[in-house]
Amino acid sequence: MFDSLINGTDFEKGIFVTVFGMLGVFAVLILFYLIIKLFSGSFFKKAEK
C-alpha cells in the first residue's frame, strides 16, 4: 500500500501527510498531556481519594 502511495499523485500524498500529520500532532500532545498529569501527581491524588 505504501509503495503505491509513493507512486501516487502529490495530492494523494498530501492527504496521507494531512491524516497522519493531524493524528500525529494529537497523539503527541495527548502524550504531553498525560506527562503533565503524571508529573503534576494528579493521577496519584485521584488514586488516594
Binding site: 497522519f20 500532532v25 503533565i36
Partner: protein
C-alpha cells in the same frame, strides 16, 4: 566612464519594484509595528541585495563560465550539489566569491544554525506554567494546526507546487516564524523569501484575520459562553522534567525534529532549572537579538528580483492567509465538536480554540477582546493563554511531523 556609471545604468524596473517592496516592509515595521524585529531587517536586506552590482550577495562572479563544471551538471543535474560557489546564469555555471550576506545564508540558514539558535532563545522565553495550570487546553494547540495541512492540500491542488514546496508553504500556518524558516530551508530553498515574509507578516495580522473567521463560525450565544477557571497545582519538578520528557518523546516519534524541539526545550530547561539565570537571560536577550538581527537581513538577501518577482510569490502570500484562516477555523470547530459531548454549564467557549495557534500572546489577547466585546464581564484570557502556549508546542510538533512524513513519500 562606463564603469563609473555602471551603478546607474545597471538599475532595471524589477530592481526598482524590489526597492518599493523593501520600503513597504520597512514602513510596515516602523509605522504599524508589524513584527519590526524581522520585517525591518528583511526589508533592508531586500534593498541591499537588489542594488546594481551589489557585492553583498556575490563579492565577484567570474567573467567566463566554467565549462568543465557546466558539462558535468548538464549531463548529471544531481551533481549540482557537489559544486559549491557556482551560480547558474542562462544554463552556464560561473564561479563566484560569496559576499557577506551569501556567507550568512550558507553558514547560518542553510546549515540550520540560526533557526536552532533562535529556538534556544524562544525556549528560554516560553513559560509553560499557564499550560500546566490548565492542561486540557493542550488539545486546542493540536486542532489549530489544521491550517498547515489544509493549506498544503490547497497549494498542491493549485498545481504549481510539488509536495515538498507545498508542505513548506503550509508551515506558514504554524504561525511560528522559525519553524517556517527551518522547514523552508529544507524543502523549498527557492521560495525561502516569500515563505518567511508571509509567516512573519500574517503573524502580526492575527488581530485582523481571526475575528471575522471566529464571528463567521460562532453564534453570539457561543461567544458569550463563560468558562469556569480552575487552576491545577504543580511543582517546580514539573517545570524541569517537562522539557526533558518532551525532547525524549519528540526524538522517538520524529527523530528529524530533534534539532527543532531539542533546542527549544534546551532553552526552556535553562530557564526553569533555576541555577542558570545568567545563561537564561543571555538566551532571551543577547542570543535572540543577535540571531534575529542576522536572520532578518539574511532572509532579505534571498529576495532578489529574479527569485521574488514571479507569480508564485503572490500565490504563497495568498496561501499564508488561507493557512491562518484554516488554523482559526480548525480550533473553533474542534471546540464546537467537543461541546457536543459536554454538559450545559461546562462547555468551552469555542473562541478559545482559535487561540491554539502559536502567535503568542497576540491570539489570546484577540480572543479576550472579542469575548469582552460580547459581554464586558466575561474573562477567558487565562484559558486563551493556556491554549496559546499549547499552540507553541503544537506548531513545533506539526513542523517535526511534516519534516518526518514528507521525505518518506518523495523519491
Amino acid at each position: 566612464m562606463d564603469e563609473l556609471l555602471a551603478g546607474i545604468t545597471g538599475i532595471d524596473i524589477r530592481m526598482a519594484v524590489m526597492y518599493v517592496i523593501g520600503l513597504a516592509l520597512i514602513i510596515l515595521a516602523i509605522k504599524k509595528e508589524y513584527e519590526p524585529m524581522l520585517l525591518l531587517p528583511i526589508g533592508f536586506g531586500a534593498i541591499l541585495v537588489n542594488l546594481p552590482q551589489s557585492v553583498v550577495k556575490y563579492a565577484s562572479i567570474a567573467s567566463e563560465p566554467d565549462m568543465f563544471v557546466t558539462n558535468i551538471i548538464q549531463n548529471n543535474p544531481e551533481a549540482a550539489g557537489l559544486f559549491k560557489n557556482y551560480i547558474e546564469i542562462d544554463g552556464l555555471y560561473y564561479k563566484y566569491e560569496p559576499g557577506i550576506l551569501q556567507i550568512l545564508l550558507e553558514s547560518g540558514i542553510l546549515t540550520e544554525l540560526f533557526p536552532v539558535l533562535i529556538f534556544i532563545g524562544i525556549g528560554a522565553m516560553i513559560d509553560f506554567s499557564p499550560l500546566f495550570k490548565n492542561p486540557v487546553m493542550i488539545f486546542f494547540g493540536a486542532a489549530a494546526q489544521f491550517g498547515i495541512f489544509a493549506t498544503m492540500l490547497v497549494a498542491i491542488a493549485l498545481g504549481k507546487f510539488d509536495l515538498k514546496t507545498a508542505s513548506a508553504i503550509g508551515i506558514i500556518g504554524a504561525a511560528d516564524g522559525p519553524t517556517a524558516i527551518y522547514v523552508a530551508s529544507k524543502f523549498a530553498k527557492e521560495y525561502f523569501g516569500p515563505i518567511s515574509v508571509a509567516a512573519y507578516s500574517y503573524m502580526s495580522l492575527v488581530p485582523i484575520i481571526q475575528p471575522p473567521v471566529i464571528r463567521l463560525l460562532t453564534t453570539k450565544k457561543e461567544r458569550m459562553i463563560r468558562m469556569e477557571y480552575r487552576e491545577e497545582k504543580f511543582s517546580k519538578f514539573v517545570l524541569i522534567a517537562f522539557p526533558i520528557a518532551v525532547t525524549i518523546i519528540a526524538g522517538i516519534v520524529a527523530p528529524i525534529s530533534v534539532p527543532l524541539v531539542g533546542s527549544l526545550m534546551f532553552g526552556n530547561l535553562i530557564r526553569e532549572c533555576g541555577v542558570l539565570e545568567r545563561l537564561s537571560q543571555a538566551a532571551q536577550n543577547e542570543l535572540s537579538n543577535l540571531v534575529t538581527l542576522l536572520l532578518g537581513i539574511t532572509i532579505g538577501s534571498t529576495m532578489t528580483a529574479d527569485s521574488f518577482l514571479r507569480p508564485e510569490t503572490l500565490l504563497i502570500l495568498a496561501m499564508g492567509l488561507v493557512a491562518f484562516i484554516f488554523d482559526t477555523a480548525g480550533g473553533v470547530l474542534f471546540a464546537k465538536f467537543l461541546n457536543l459531548f459536554r454538559k450545559e454549564g461546562n462547555k468551552f467557549n469555542p473562541m478559545i480554540g482559535a487561540a491554539g495557534i502559536s502567535a503568542f500572546p497576540m491570539s489570546a489577547r484577540v480572543i479576550q477582546k472579542i469575548a469582552q466585546k460580547e459581554d464586558p464581564t466575561n474573562f477567558v484570557l487565562m484559558q486563551a493563554v493556556s491554549a496559546n502556549v499549547s499552540g507553541q508546542l503544537g506548531s513545533i510538533v506539526a513542523g517535526g511531523l511534516v519534516l518526518a512524513l514528507v521525505p518518506m513519500l518523495v523519491h
